[in-house]
């Protein structure tokens, strides 16, 4: 983490080169290349089946790429919040957290568990079996496990999908804090407004191809098809951006 804090903005945490993933004949990712920097928040957006989960899984080390490489600096495990809650439903909330804290070799597992329970606001349900939690609360535990080891980069696959607005708010607040301390955050979402609001940079995937990389403002310009009347200062509704984004994908055959 020294690397992240010293020269904050331009330190590369992950470099992805010509990444390709094939499932049999299907190409889920097609020669993707990009870099991620310390302390930046990056959103991946794109329609269902675009390859978001596949990309994040490869970055997390869950899947191996068919071609290309992922270079991590430093070579440490990233935090990983999968799309579907990866929890043992027969164990309690605290038992799940403690198990993964131990597997992550966190110095003080009990302290880390307590801190995470406070963070996700589930202290009073700590002893309850995960199977009996609501979907959103399970997702909160799922996120907490990804945050346990204070990783150099945190990968979140649709983290806010099943959270209520208050939890969503808390999540982004927490993530903002992490990024402020130098952690690279990369998350996927179907919520274009969320990407626009919290991400410093956006990657757009369509059918495994990287269609666009740039700031949300750049994307907005590209989406509005070079329409200069619609610049960043013009007030507009989020819904307009979303439909423009859909048109953007449609024009590129997605």
């Amino acid at each position: 983490m020294s690397i992240g804090t010293q020269t904050a903005q331009r330190t590369v945490t992950v470099a992805v080169r010509g990444l390709t993933k094939r499932f049999g004949a299907r190409i889920a990712l097609d020669r993707i290349s990009f870099e991620l920097y310390a302390a930046e928040v990056v959103a991946i957006i794109g329609p269902n089946g675009a390859g978001k989960t596949t990309l994040l899984s490869i970055l997390a080390g869950v899947l191996n790429p068919s071609e290309g490489e992922v270079i991590r600096t430093p070579d440490r495990r990233f935090g990983w919040v999968p799309q579907e809650p990866a929890l043992y439903s027969k164990l309690s909330v605290a038992e799940n957290l403690r198990l993964f804290a131990r597997l992550e070799r966190v110095a003080d597992p009990d302290q880390a568990v307590a801190a995470m329970l406070a963070q996700i606001g589930l202290e009073d349900r700590a002893g309850e079996e995960v199977a009996r939690l609501s979907g959103g609360n399970q997702q909160r535990v799922n996120i907490a496990i990804g945050l346990l080891c204070e990783p150099p980069a945190l990968l979140l696959d649709e983290p806010s999908a099943s959270l209520d607005p208050r939890q969503r708010e808390r999540l982004w607040e927490f993530i903002g804090g992490l990024a402020g301390r130098g952690t690279t955050i990369i998350f996927s979402t179907h919520n274009v407004a969320e990407a626009e609001r919290y991400a410093g940079r956006t990657l757009v995937l369509g059918d495994g191809e990287l269609l666009f990389t740039g700031t949300p403002a750049d994307l907005e310009r590209a989406v509005s098809g070079g329409d200069t009347t619609l610049d960043a200062d013009t007030p507009r509704l989020a819904g307009d951006f979303e439909s423009a984004f859909v048109r953007f994908l449609h024009d590129r055959g997605h």
């Binding site: 899984s57 997390a60 080390g61 869950v62 899947l63 191996n64 495990r77 990983w80 999968p82 579907e84 809650p85 990866a86 929890l87 043992y88 439903s89 027969k90 164990l91 038992e95 198990l99 993964f100 131990r102 597997l103 992550e104 079996e129 496990i145």
Partner: protein
Amino acid sequence: MRWLLVKDLQILRRSPLLVGLLVVYPVVIALMIGFALSSPPGKPTVALYDAVRTGRGAVSIGNQQINISHYANQLFQSIKPIRVTSRAQAIRKVQDGQAQAALIVPADIVSQINSLITQGVGNPTVELILNSRDPLERQFAQQAIAARANQVEQAVSKQVLRVAVTDLQQVLNGGKLQFLGQSVPLLGLRNARAIVQGTIASLPANSPLRPALKQVVDFADLASGGLGFASPVLSSIGSPLTIKQTELTGKTTPSASYAAAIAVIVSLMFVGVLLAAGLLALERSEHAYSRLVRGLIKPEGLLSEKVLLAAGAATGVTLLMSALVSLFVHLEWMRFPLWLAALVMGALAFGALGVAIGGLARDVSVASLMAFVVSLPIAFVALVPGDAVSGTLKSILDAVAFVFPFKAALQAAANAFSGTAPGIGWPLIHLAVLTLVFGALARLALRRFA
């Protein structure tokens, strides 16, 4: 790996239904198979020493014939006789465990029966020697023989009575007696009475002989009445044939301990394979697998943890089962370290087979189903008797039995329980190799998902 083990134990403790499915059900099936194999469709093997060669035909008692071969044939329908030529040889067969019992018909049985009939003294005895090692088999052999012996006994006593009653009738009514090849007429009590009665009538009324002869007539009345009454009483007399039953501690018959080994190994297989397959598949169905494989634990570590847990459970369950089975079937506790070696090595091999299956399945129910579908034929293939099939089919079955752990585990356990051939060394090495092979296959199966 320690924490994963703890976690799996916690999960199992909270899943009584799963444990029931994975542990209790296989044990029940195994016990059923074991009992089906150990209880008789077959006949008990009995060493038979027949000094009279009664089986050859008939034995004469008095002037009656008993058709012994008829009863011998009936006896042979319920036992498998091994004919031996001396009493000592018969006993040795039981000691060696080649026969469950020995039946000895002594040379003097006919003379004993004859003396019983003619003089009222005699003790015709057959000897039954049982192996007390296996309570179950002992009972089985005893019942088979006792039922038949009872029939013979009844037949003999009926014949004896017929002889006795015929003789009695002759005493009463007269007849012909075979004596030294000559037919000697016999007067009979009733005829004698009639003659004496006639004599009295022909005597003068005041003859001093009259009261004396009257006494003879009175006695004849009394005697014929009493003897006439005696024949039904005689027929209610109990068995003239004694079965002298002794027990000795011989070797256990191979079939009993082999059946026990089959039951135990079937359990070992089900618990080992199902638990390993189920627990590995559980990681995937809970999606936790994706977290674990990102360097939290090496795939080899994950597989080892499942194999160890499954093998530990399978060994525990089957050790308990062996102890229970040893109450009914003699297993050699002296060889306990070998039991342990056979069960542990077998359990590891089955656990490895289990993770290879679990690595292919995406959830617990599919994994359990696959484990069943794979396990049952493996067991059956290994249990097909060598002489039941021939040629190419036999080679194929042998090859299948060779590449799965069942047969090697069964050989190891059978040897551990009672020292049957082949020895335990090769089966254990075989199991170790299979553990490594299936472990490697499981590793490949996991890579398929990366």
